[in-house]
């Protein structure tokens, strides 16, 4: 059994390898760690505070190198196992990325079987982080709310805790194949842009209204002038439906917020006023 990385003393870890926070950059750092001699260097984010005795080396992002490692690991461990690693990375939970780097090492050695060792705290923490991202992505496929803009395109703002856009983009691109849409992560200022007939793409620094800084916008903040003329009428119909469908004799606000925590309410059409 491996000790959880968080419990290790920095003095036992003379070298750490830092990634730039991007998925390819992270994979490159993992590749570097795989090649390093014992003791295996820890993989950390470059934003993490530097430990007193830590000597840190930043690893440059190289998309070709990242793709090569991805292909090698996928060939050895299979796509489902690597998807779990990706989900753990996207969970942005403390230590998930560091622990996933350890798991990658074991995947290279033992293949997908490494992920079955759930009695190991490092494997378990990666599994849990992946579950968290996957669940939130699943939730987002239900609670993303699209608005129609005057130009006929569609816009959906999200505020997920995990970086779920890469996990939900395929779903919405398949479902709304004929719609031009932007799926906007307000927390990270990032968006998935979809044009019918083309593959979706992920952009950083997206703002619906370029005049305003990214991160402050919400559906209430969308300039009504850029919405389609029908939008507010249809939102109104949805609110009417939503309130009519609850059974008065069974009202249970506690159960409701257990299912849909209030942190998500702000962006839900049915939970906000007019």
């Amino acid at each position: 059994m491996t000790e959880p990385q968080a419990d290790r003393d920095d003095r036992d870890e003379p070298v750490t390898l830092a990634h730039d926070g991007s998925w390819p950059g992270y994979l490159c750092t993992c590749a570097e760690a795989l090649n390093a001699p014992e003791p295996v260097p820890r993989v950390v984010g470059s934003e993490a505070p530097l430990g007193l005795f830590e000597s840190r080396m930043a690893v440059a992002r190289d998309d070709g190198r990242a793709a090569a490692l991805w292909d090698r690991l996928t060939a050895k461990a299979g796509v489902p196992a690597m998807r779990i690693v990706l989900e753990a990375f996207l969970s942005e939970r403390p230590d998930a990325r560091t622990n996933a780097a350890v798991v990658i090492r074991r995947l290279r050695r033992d293949g997908a079987a490494a992920l079955r060792d759930l009695a190991d705290p490092v494997v378990l923490s990666v599994d849990k982080a992946a579950n968290k991202a996957r669940r939130e992505a699943e939730r987002m496929t239900g609670i993303a709310r699209f608005s129609e803009l005057a130009d006929g395109s569609w816009y959906a703002p999200l505020e997920p805790e995990c970086d779920v856009l890469p996990l939900v983009a395929d779903h919405f691109a398949a479902r709304f194949a004929a719609m031009r849409f932007a799926l906007h992560d307000l927390r990270r200022g990032r968006a998935v842009l979809h044009d019918p007939g083309r593959p979706w793409l992920l952009t950083d620094g997206f703002a619906l209204n370029p005049a305003e800084p990214a991160g402050d916008a919400g559906p209430g903040d969308i300039d009504p002038g850029i919405l389609s003329p029908d939008e507010s009428r249809i939102r109104g119909l949805w609110r009417r439906y939503f309130s009519a469908t609850a059974i008065e004799g069974r009202l249970n606000p506690g159960l409701q917020s257990a299912h849909i925590p209030k942190k998500y309410w702000r962006l839900l059409t049915e939970m906000s006023e007019g």
Binding site: R116, R175, M179, R240, F242, I247, L255
Partner: protein
């Protein structure tokens, strides 16, 4: 005429909300080129209403005017409520507008009986066909079949829909005759048979064989006389019979099928008639086995207006409904049979314990279970272990021997499981107790009591069926 769209929508949503079916799972219908939408096999919840129920489908009636007079139903013809009806185009527009905004996973269309069952079915099928053909919409479509519809129309509904359901509602023929006089068992089960065949399942015979008594007396419950259940033939499956879970394992399903990929479901109303939990669960098990029903929904009776044929409950029997759902999960995911959960000596579910804990305390000879060697099905029977943690246990113990700590990390609810397992021969400690758990101790029952009664019983008052 003249009624605005929002008012219509309110009336027709209000009229549809007592149908408990909300699921949008089971269909992998793909999007078509230039089309809109697809199915998500696992189903997707899009919101949760103030009553805590999930909102996945736009659940509306095409019309709430109804020729029938079912006492449990808010839309019965003798009830004085405002009536409305959608023009087919209005409903089509609404579905597309909501779907594009990702408010909904699809639509669940039902209707009051307008004229005759076939005419009503034709109107619903018309909307379905427009959505599928003209709008090229591939979202989740659930149609309600009207009892007594012709086999041809049931087949056509199955062609467009992901799921079609027909509601049994009353758990015995006697109650059906009293509470829903316009419906007959033959009209309901005829549609169920047609739906089973449409999804490639030959219905099994549940009627008693020739020569067998056609009236089965179940034990008296709640002060009523013995319950006659002719025609429904809800007899317990013989003990050699497979469980619902085992029967389903042998049934290949194709979520990508164009016809009825998500199969059929049904609903039983709880508390509008005197049947015991045993009668309801035995009937549900028969429906799963005989018609390959995917889900049986249990709907706590909400009194709507005064009708002397149904009891004037002070509130819906939510605790009872909750326990029935728990027992239903034991059928589908844990390999239990109805006669293991309830029997002639125990007609009703325990109010304080979930049905699995109650079963475990009655079958202490099967415990403790050694987590390092028990097979998957044995693990599933342990309170505090579900399908997810059971398969995690099987995976994890291949790598290392399991300890109480690792069980907890794997998601086992130790508060319950501690009474029923051993880890390498020794029983795990209970948090907060100095002693080792012993399942026969009186505190086991206390510790296993869940909060459901506290949370739900204040809303539920028992109706005394024996009172004059």
């Amino acid at each position: 005429m003249g009624m605005d769209a929002a008012t219509k929508l309110s009336i027709l949503a209000d009229a549809a909300k007592y149908d408990a079916s909300c699921s949008s799972s089971g269909s992998a219908r793909g999007n078509a080129p230039g089309g809109l939408g697809n199915g998500a096999v696992g189903g997707i919840c899009h919101s949760w209403a103030a009553d805590g129920r999930c909102v996945s489908l736009l659940k509306v009636l095409l019309s709430n005017a109804c020729a029938y007079d079912c006492a449990y139903c808010v839309n019965r013809r003798s009830n004085d409520v405002p009536r409305a009806g959608f023009e087919p185009e209005e409903l089509v527009r609404l579905v597309i507008d909501f779907y594009k905004r990702n408010y909904i996973e699809g639509v669940f269309i039902s209707s009051g009986v307008i004229g005759c069952p076939d005419h009503t079915m034709e109107r619903m099928i018309g909307v379905a066909k427009t959505l599928r053909v003209r709008e090229r919409w591939n979202g989740y479509l659930h149609l309600k079949a009207i009892p007594g519809s012709s086999v041809e129309l049931v087949d056509e509904a199955a062609r467009w829909a992901d799921r079609v359901s027909v509601n049994v509602e009353l758990p015995s023929q006697a109650s059906l005759a009293r509470v829903a006089p316009d419906k007959t068992p033959a009209a309901i089960f005829g549609v169920m048979r047609a739906l089973a065949r449409a999804s490639g399942f030959e219905p099994r015979k549940v009627l008693p064989a020739a020569g067998a008594p056609d009236r089965l007396a179940l034990p008296p419950s709640a002060g009523s006389a013995a319950e006659p259940v002719p025609l429904y033939a809800a007899r317990p499956a013989p003990s050699g019979e497979r469980s619902v879970m085992a029967a389903r394992k042998g049934r290949a399903r194709d979520p990508s099928s164009a016809v009825l990929p998500a199969g059929q479901t049904t609903q039983l109303v709880v508390g509008a008639s005197p049947e015991s939990d045993a009668t309801i669960l035995t009937l549900a098990e028969n429906l799963y086995l005989a018609y390959d029903v995917r889900r049986v929904y249990y709907s706590a009776f909400v009194p709507a207006g005064r009708d002397p044929r149904v009891p004037a409950l002070p509130g819906p029997p939510l605790l009872r409904e909750h326990r029935l759902y728990q027992a239903d999960w034991l059928f589908r995911f844990y390999g239990f049979r109805a006669d293991e959960i309830l029997g002639p000596d125990r007609p009703n579910l325990d109010a304080d314990l979930d049905p699995k804990c109650a079963w475990a305390l009655r079958n202490l000879d099967r415990f403790p279970v050694e987590v390092n060697s028990a097979d998957y099905l044995e693990l599933l029977r342990v309170p505090g272990i579900g399908p997810r943690s059971a398969s995690r246990i099987v995976k994890a113990r291949a790598a290392a021997r399991l300890t109480p700590e690792s069980l907890k990390a794997l998601g086992v609810v130790m508060k319950r499981a501690a009474f029923f397992v051993t880890c390498s021969g020794s029983s795990p400690p209970l948090p907060g107790y100095s002693r080792r758990p012993s399942p026969d101790a009186r505190y086991a029952r206390a510790a296993l009591t869940d909060g459901a009664r506290l949370a739900l019983a204040p809303l539920q008052m028992e109706f005394d069926w024996g009172a004059p």
